[in-house]
Amino acid sequence: MTRTTPAHERDHEPVPDPSTLMGLLHVLRKTHMELVGKDAAHQRFSQVSTRGDARQYIEEVMPNLVKEREKRRQHRHGDGK
C-alpha cells in the first residue's frame, strides 16, 4: 500500500449491487476468511454498506493480505524475492 485515495463525496452512497466494487470486495472477503476464519471475516464484512465503508475495509484488510502473500511467496520460492 503505497498511497491512499482521499475521502470522496460519494462515501455515503451504498455499495452498488451488483458492481465491480461489490465483486472485488467479495474477493477480499474470500481470502480474509483464510486468514482470520469465517466468523471473524463475516463479522468484519457485514459492517460494509457504503462506499466509504468499502474504502475503509480495503485499506484495513489489504495490508494483511499483501503481507501474507509475500510470506507465502517467500515460502514457495525460498528466495526472499
Partner: protein, 414 residues
C-alpha cells in the same frame, strides 16, 4: 486440430511459455479502426447508428476518458447489437443482430450509473488514435500479429467473460454477480466451473498469476482470485515479474491482471486496465513493461504473449458477432438470469499475438474468442478440453512460423 496435434507437430519445444494480459472494456473498432493498419476489417464513416432522429457516424476524436461508463451488461449488449429497445426473450434465439443500438443504449441505460449529457452520446461511436494514444499497443500490433476477428466470449460484462478465459464457460453466469450469489459461492470456496478451470488442468506448478502493482491500491484486487482454488495470496505482485523470469521460470502459463484504479468511486482512475473511465496511458505502459520483461529474458525465444480485452465496454463495433458453440458443461441454470444459450459471441475486441515466432505486421482474420487461449494451451501442452467451447475454438498456433525472428524491438514505449 486434435488435442495433441500441435505437440506432435513439434510446437511445444518452440513455445514453452504462454503469457496472457487481459485489459478492460474496449472494442476493436474503438481502438484500432483508425490506426491506418492495412487490411484490417474495420468501421468507416459509412457505419452509423440512429438515435432520436439523428444519425451518428463512426469517427475520430474519442475522449481520453469517457464522461460516463457505457453499459455492457447482457441487457445492454442485446440493445447495442440488435437495436434500440431490443430485448432477449428466454427460450428464443438471440434477436437479429445489426449493431444499430450502441448510441441508443449509451444515451439511456443506467446499468453503470447516470447516462451522459445528450451532447456526449456520440462518444460511443468515436475511435482513438492508437498510434499516439496507445503507442506501445500500436507498436506491438504492427510488429507482430493483430487479430481482427477476436470476440468476447458472450455478449455481456466483465466477470462472465473473464471466467470464459479461465474455464471455457461462465457456469451459466450472464451478468455481473450479485453479493447474494457470491455469498452462495463461499460454501464452495469460490466460483466453481463444472469441468474445472485451466489452472486445475495445468496444476499449481505449471501456472503463475500476477497483478500490476502500480496505481491506486484500491484497485489491486485480482478478479481471478474469485475462482475456487485461487487465493489472493496466489497472485504475485508484478514488481517481481522481471526477476522471476530470470530465476528458473518454469510456468507454462502466466496470467496477468491490470490494476483497476479507483473502484470505490467507480472512476477507475489511476489504474492500468484501460477502463473507459480512466484512460489508455497507464495500460499502455503496462503492456510495454510486460513486453520488455519477456523480451529481455532468457524465455523470449520460447514465448507467446497474448494481449486481450475482456469485453467491448459498450463501445461501437461494426462486425456482427456470429454463432458460438455453447460450453455444454452441465452448468446449473442458477446463474443464468436471462436464459441465454451462450450460442452467440460477444462484441469484437482487440487482440495482439506477440512472439519471435510470428510474422511481422500480420493481420489475422480468424474468428477467436477467449476460449481460444485455452485451446492454444491445451493443444500446445497436451491437455484435454474443458468444455465444448474450447474444444471447438480456433487456437493461435497456426500463427507460429518456422523462423525465430531476430528483429523484434528490445524495448517499446517510454
Amino acid at each position: 486440430m486434435n488435442a495433441n496435434a500441435a505437440a506432435a507437430g513439434g510446437l511445444d519445444p518452440i513455445i514453452q511459455h504462454v503469457f496472457v494480459l487481459m485489459l478492460e472494456n474496449r472494442s476493436f473498432d474503438h481502438l484500432f479502426a483508425l490506426s491506418g493498419i492495412p487490411e484490417i476489417v474495420a468501421a468507416t464513416t459509412g457505419n452509423s447508428n440512429t438515435y432520436s432522429g439523428a444519425t451518428y457516424a463512426f469517427g475520430d476524436g474519442a475522449p481520453g476518458q469517457m464522461p460516463t461508463d457505457p453499459g455492457h451488461e447482457f441487457i445492454d449488449v442485446v440493445e447495442q447489437l440488435c437495436g434500440a429497445n431490443a430485448q432477449f426473450q428466454r427460450g428464443l434465439p438471440y434477436p437479429p443482430i445489426d449493431n444499430s443500438g450502441f448510441v441508443a443504449n449509451y444515451a439511456t441505460t443506467r446499468t453503470e450509473g447516470t447516462p451522459p449529457q445528450s451532447g456526449d452520446v456520440d462518444d460511443i461511436m468515436r475511435g482513438v488514435d492508437a498510434r499516439t494514444q496507445s503507442p506501445a499497443l500500436y507498436k506491438l500490433a504492427t510488429q507482430f500479429v493483430l487479430c481482427d476477428g477476436w470476440h468476447s466470449s458472450l455478449p455481456g460484462p466483465t466477470w462472465p467473460n473473464r471466467y470464459f478465459l479461465h474455464g471455457g464457460s461462465s457456469a451459466g453466469l450472464d451478468h455481473s454477480p450479485t453479493s447474494a450469489e457470491m455469498y452462495e459461492w463461499e460454501g464452495l470456496d469460490g466460483f466453481v466451473y463444472p469441468k474445472g478451470s485451466i489452472f486445475d488442468a495445468l496444476g499449481k506448478d505449471n501456472y503463475r498469476l500476477y497483478q500490476d502493482h502500480l496505481g491506486d491500491p484500491l484497485g489491486r484486487i485480482p478478479q481471478v482470485a474469485s475462482i475456487k482454488g485461487i487465493s489472493f495470496c496466489d497472485v504475485n505482485d508484478l514488481s517481481h515479474f522481471e526477476a522471476d523470469l530470470d530465476a528458473g521460470y518454469t510456468a507454462r502459463y502466466t496470467f496477468i491482471e491490470p490494476s483497476y484504479g479507483d473502484v470505490v468511486n467507480d472512476t477507475y482512475e489511476n489504474g492500468s486496465s484501460q477502463h473507459p473511465m480512466d484512460g489508455l496511458a497507464a495500460g499502455d505502459q503496462l503492456v510495454a513493461r510486460i513486453y520488455g520483461a519477456i523480451r529481455n529474458s532468457a524465455l523470449w525465444d520460447k514465448s507467446l504473449f497474448v494481449i486481450l480485452y475482456d469485453e467491448h465496454g459498450g463501445f461501437y463495433d461494426s462486425v456482427k458477432p456470429g454463432k458460438a458453440i455453447p460450453p455444454n458443461d452441465g452448468a446449473a441454470a442458477t446463474l443464468n438470469a436471462s436464459g441465454f444459450g451462450f450460442d452467440v459471441y460477444g462484441v469484437r475486441v482487440p487482440a495482439i499475438v506477440v512472439s519471435p515466432w510470428v510474422a511481422q505486421g500480420q493481420v489475422d482474420h480468424t474468428t477467436y474468442d477467449h476460449s481460444s487461449v485455452l485451446a492454444t494451451l491445451e493443444r500446445l501442452f497436451g491437455l484435454q478440453p474443458l468444455t465444448d467451447r474450447d474444444r471447438n475454438a480456433n487456437d493461435v498456433l497456426s500463427l507460429i512460423t518456422q523462423t525465430c525472428r531476430q528483429d523484434c524491438p528490445e524495448r517499446i514505449g517510454t
